[in-house]
């Protein structure tokens, strides 16, 4: 039996002025699956992710979360965003708050979680991402890898149903990439539904359930990692893969 669909995108279109960035994009993400998005710079990967958590509003098409069609006219998008976590390339931690304060801010403010509960949950999440000794330091004192793990914990604190990652390791020194990918792998192993934009092909192969190749705002090819990487069907996919390997 097919798994429950967590995210469904149908015929999504998005333009910025004259620039048509997403063209008739269709995408389905099953529960507990990891979908990896690859593609050249400017192909629309970030825009697609940002449409999924409504940081950008689509022009046309339909987006479903757990089978429910989400529209800005009928839904409170602030509530929808609580259900879709997002991790950014540049972490975007709150520099004026300590690590723990970063993590508990949204649960307390948005979900009205009692402070004590939020602190306990936040500490547990920080322990999980390996930062048990960093509760009370400011983000500026952390390495890039540690910052990104805080950002992951901060996002998880809202108990999202889906996590989106936009090039989470691209801003990191090479030796720090592994610790963040490991954290993401653990999350995937626990059954989190994830959509990940990344250039880390090793991660895509090992952790990805599906790989999606985008070009010029269109999904060119979609397949299991071993199929797409080893026997790409489309000429464009072949060219892209040989350009990055």
């Amino acid at each position: 039996m097919a798994n429950k669909l967590m995210v469904q995108v149908e015929q999504l279109n998005k333009s910025f002025g004259d620039l048509h960035v997403l063209r008739n994009v269709d995408l389905q993400v099953e529960e507990s699956n990891v979908v990896v998005l690859i593609g050249a710079s400017g192909s629309g990967k970030s825009t697609l992710l940002r449409c999924l958590n409504f940081l950008e509003i689509k022009d046309e098409g339909r987006i479903f979360l757990e089978g429910e069609q989400i529209e800005k006219e009928t839904h409170n998008l602030n509530e929808i965003r609580q259900r879709v976590g997002m991790v950014f390339q540049h972490f975007n931690l709150f520099p004026h708050k300590t690590v723990l304060e970063n993590v508990i801010e949204a649960p307390i403010l948005v979900k009205k979680t009692p402070k004590k509960q939020a602190i306990d949950d936040g500490k547990a999440l920080l322990d999980k991402v390996g930062l048990a000794d960093k509760y009370h330091v400011y983000p500026s004192t952390l390495s890039g890898g540690q910052k990104q793990r805080v950002a992951i914990a901060r996002s998880l604190a809202m108990k999202p149903e889906v996590m989106l990652f936009d090039e989470p390791t691209s801003a990191l020194d090479p030796e720090l990439v592994g610790e963040v990918l490991n954290t993401m792998k653990e999350l995937a192993d626990e059954g989190m539904t994830m959509v990940v934009v990344t250039h880390e092909m090793g991660f895509a192969r090992e952790v990805g359930d599906w790989v999606v190749y985008m070009h010029d705002g269109k999904i060119v090819e979609y397949g299991r990692p071993e199929e797409l990487f080893d026997q790409p069907k489309e000429q464009r996919t072949k060219e892209f893969l040989s350009s990055i390997l």
Partner: protein
Amino acid sequence: MSHFFDVFMVSYPIFLEGLKITLYLSAASLIMAFVIGLFFAILKISSIKPLQWIADGYIWLIRGTPLIVQIFVLYYGITEIILIDAFWAGAIGLAIHSGAYIAEIIRGSIQSIAKGQMEAGRSLGMTKLQTMRRIILPQAFRRAIPSLGNQFIIGIKDSSLVSFIGAQELFGVSSSLGSNSFDFLTFYSIAAVYYLVIVLVLSVVVNRIEKRLAKSD
């Protein structure tokens, strides 16, 4: 020099009265100016064009006219409608004046906060307003402190102009004492000393705050 100190010592009880009024006037006007400045800064960064125009118009009007003219227009304008004393007319005039500059300072520092901060807040389900209040503004204020401190110092010195509508603050006191004795030079020099001390104290306070906040960044 010894004449200066003698006069200083004899006149200090009167000057302290003036000092008190200068401090109250500055505090009242700067608190109001801060609220006005924050309000217009938010109008300017709002995405609603007419609100931006209102803020632009206000800032243009204030920057394009001398403070002394603003104080007089306001004083005679308000007293047409209600009876208000020179202190409050002056405080309101100074607040409207400094507010325009503070609006620009706050707007600049809000816009200097990286776009990713708003996105991070929104992606956690926070509203625009919540993100503004909890994430953007606290960072923007920290960044604005040196410029705000500077504007506060200007505000304190500008409060001397309120003497022209009759407030007996530091400058008003020294003018009165000067014209009674014709010893203008001495009394204005004494006033200068008081202003220097206030500005010095405020600079030290702003520096301290800056250093303390820098630690958490």
